[in-house]
Subunit: 231 residues, 2 copies
């Protein structure tokens, strides 16, 4: 058959996915796990990361990519903990795109890292729709936000490989119904694990840290197995 | 000069602005004030509206347009208070566009209304960028979200004609610094009034209700003046 000369144009989403594929290859090459942390403004993502850095820094080589519309506040908070951190500014845009993440990732010393956590722009809608090449999306929901958020913002909670319920220490002061929240979550996602944490008191952090370690271990084992097969 | 035959295509934002202009004309014709309530998921927008409906329903003819990605939860909450309410579902989209608002508005009995409040999709980024023909954007920020949100999401806070700080009853349990929050707000908006409210206890609601009454009065006076001039 003669070769047909057809120009192919991809839409923007397609271009984004292409960068996500490149990122996945880059991460696999260096056996690095990347998580995409998504939650509302003020859900406690940075606070969770501060505590996570403290708990993991001795045993896990860690970097954070901080997504924000404006300011470098969150990156500064993590840099104060001696955490390797880069700031990704969207200049008004509502989510991180794969290309920006890829470029920031390439500037990291990936051979010396185990885990990269991307803190996406504070937003429950748009970031959930853009693949940035992560191994897992993690939804962060504060108990101050009300129990019905999983069904009101279903895309994120459907895709989340883990849900972190934050600010649990505030529960006694809120009309929040934990059982109802879990039931709403199960309407859109039957299996995702839920971590109930208070970064303030440290309660529940251990289970979350354990999950992170397992994610990392699982990824490195899979990579090792793949390399054996490929030989 | 001969008439040039040039086709003009507008971008989507242009089309949105056209619908916003139509909405403004429609509101003016019927002397109705429309507010665009914008805040994060779980900032307490619906709770604020519930209390507002209760406080205003006797003296102000009121309707709510409820914007949501999915579910009719919020509209149901307001309908239970005998508030006239319509649900605007975006089916995944992160903000309300002017056309959808315009169509919902046209279905309301505008001659019998003084005030329409649009509760936008829970999101601090995208809704701030779309004019829906409102008289004023009102930013709703919960004290659980942290004090730096005005500089981290500057577009909304720059444009807001009022800022409502919600969940003030939780302040004793939070590391939130009220003075710092106001200072951050003043970096992007030197004049907008701030209402510190707790819909839970009712504290601060009176000042917010007074502002709403003034908005309505101001609009109706301006309209009356304009009509006198036009005669």
């Amino acid at each position: 058959m003669p070769k047909l000369n057809i120009k192919i144009y991809r839409n923007l989403m397609g271009a984004n996915d292409l960068w996500a594929v490149r990122t996945r290859a880059l991460l696999k090459k260096h056996h690095v796990v990347m998580l995409n942390l998504i939650g509302s403004p003020g859900a406690g993502k940075t606070r969770l990361l501060e505590k996570t850095v403290r708990a993991l820094s001795k045993t896990c080589r860690f970097a954070v990519l901080e997504g924000d519309v404006a300011t470098t506040h969150d990156a500064e908070r993590l840099a104060r903990l001696d955490c390797r951190v880069s700031q990704l500014l969207t200049d008004g845009a509502c989510h991180l795109e794969a290309k920006l993440v890829h470029y920031a990732l390439r500037d990291l010393p990936l051979t010396k890292l185990d885990l990269v956590v991307v803190e996406n722009v504070g937003n429950l809608v748009c970031p959930a729709e853009f693949d940035i090449g992560e191994h897992a999306k993690v939804a962060v929901l504060s108990v101050t936000e009300g129990e019905d958020k999983p069904v009101k913002y279903p895309t994120l909670f459907r895709e989340a490989k883990a849900v972190v319920l934050t600010k649990m220490d505030l529960l006694p002061h809120l009309p929040f119904n934990l059982k109802a929240c879990r039931a709403y979550l199960r309407q859109v996602n039957a299996t995702t694990p839920v971590f109930q944490v208070s970064a303030q008191t440290g309660r529940g952090m251990a289970a979350w840290i354990k999950w992170l370690r397992e994610m990392r271990h699982e990824n490195q084992t899979t990579d090792a197995r793949r390399q054996t097969t490929e030989k």
